[in-house]
Symmetry: C2
Subunit: 266 residues, 2 copies
């Protein structure tokens, strides 16, 4: 099978109009597909309304018991089920899943090394049999950022990591492409110029771009993550804006495509 794993971020989820627009695009996206989402901004807002303040260390959420309850409610409940209902209205046979459902994603609680992140999970294993069966049966999994340890504990997990884990695990038996939708049009040469997109990056280009400081800070973990996925067998990784997803699917110029192999055109 040719499978696309598509991850959307808070910049889409938190705006009803943008979300509707994205879901319409997603419904038209060709082939087998899995949607992955988190929803941190909405979780923070709900938490605050209940007196639970978000605690972040290096941009990562510390997940105590109350915070775990909130992200479980917001990711697996509110956001996931509303997306599924909207996709069903678009004739997409979506099925919302957290990692515990059908044991789709097993993780382990992150060991305490200096910082105790609390109930945060690092992905250990993906149930690719179930995912493949669902896709073959015409179901479209909509996967949120809650996983479990198979010992009865839910764990808050980074949605990018879930998308990567699904992609690399399924890549063992299938041709998998991974799409990260974020708040920029792609990897930019000039951060201030939204249109200065680098269309294609491979490892050699990446090294050069890092050396010249064109790529730095927040973009580095995203690209490291992308290359790790490529090394584990993912066909290509795409980074760009949700609204350009269909162009990307059609192979048209939009966003940044990350590939392992060297291209002659460079």
């Amino acid at each position: 099978m040719k499978i696309s794993i598509i991850k959307i971020g808070g910049n889409v989820i938190d705006f009803p109009e943008k979300l509707d627009e994205f879901l319409s695009l997603f419904s038209k996206f060709p082939g087998y597909k899995i949607l992955v989402h988190g929803g941190g901004i909405m979780a923070s807002r709900f938490g605050e309304s209940m007196g639970v303040m978000p605690e972040m260390v290096d941009g990562r959420r510390i997940t105590d018991k109350d915070t775990l309850d909130i992200v479980t409610m917001v990711y697996a409940g509110l956001i996931n089920k509303n997306m599924v209902a909207k996709l069903q209205a678009l004739k997409v046979n979506a099925i919302g899943m957290c990692g515990a459902d059908g044991n789709l994603i097993r993780s382990i609680k992150r060991p305490v090394k200096g910082i105790d992140y609390g109930y945060v999970g690092d992905v250990q294993e993906v149930n690719t049999t179930l995912a493949s069966q669902f896709l073959e049966g015409g179901l479209i999994p909509v996967v949120n950022a809650i996983t479990h340890d198979r010992k009865g504990q839910l764990l808050n997990t980074n949605a990018d990591s879930i998308a990567s884990a699904l992609a690399t695990s399924l890549a063992k038996d299938h041709q998998v492409n991974l799409y990260f939708c974020f708040n920029k049009k792609g990897v930019l040469v000039d951060e201030k110029n939204e249109n200065s997109i680098i269309p294609l990056i491979n490892e050699d280009i990446y090294k050069e771009l890092k050396k010249e400081n064109v790529i730095h800070s927040g973009m580095i973990p995203k690209l490291d993550n992308a290359f790790e996925a490529l090394h584990k067998g993912v066909n290509h990784v795409w980074i760009g804006k949700a609204e350009n997803l269909l162009l990307a699917a059609k192979g048209k110029l939009s966003g940044t495509t990350i590939e392992r192999q060297r291209y002659d055109l460079y």
Copy 2:
């Protein structure tokens, strides 16, 4: 297939120890099975902590937009996913589902007749193909009280009605038993005596018991509902305490069994 639909109420869900005990029993319950739950008490508590007060008319929750968000978070998120994780730890391959997931249960927004219940759904259609496929594939659906209208709207639905709808729909092709766990040991002759359980009720007995005012008030809609399910092909309906569920499964005396046919022993 022989399928058991088991519905648990707030008196189990709201007490962690009771819930763990129940899930352990459920894991041992033989054969194909589907678990159905709501969680009204917990939803009220979370709503209140967010400043959304529950509004009840004749024991039914009025579901405005905020309340719908809360029940979606609590039923489909917090309660459902924690139960699934706990069942997975017990080696039950549970999969949490609301009615929107895989279009399992389609409902329509209740028409306004005097009272506007808001975003409340009445069940219209059950995707028995999907439910049967999941059961055959070894998955155990854990179904919560959120459904959808297939036009993108989630709807709050009575969990007893969901259990009945699943049972009657599946009864067309399968042998289905329906178990309602509630806060009493069964239908009682004397409300003040927990052990005065009526073991078996059929329609003739029911008429007599109503005439003699042994069965009245809150028990009548439960039993009407049970007989409706029997008329639609359900094999038998059981009402009792969650802790006696395994006895019921083994055909031992516990709770009240409701059957359509007349028995000679009466």
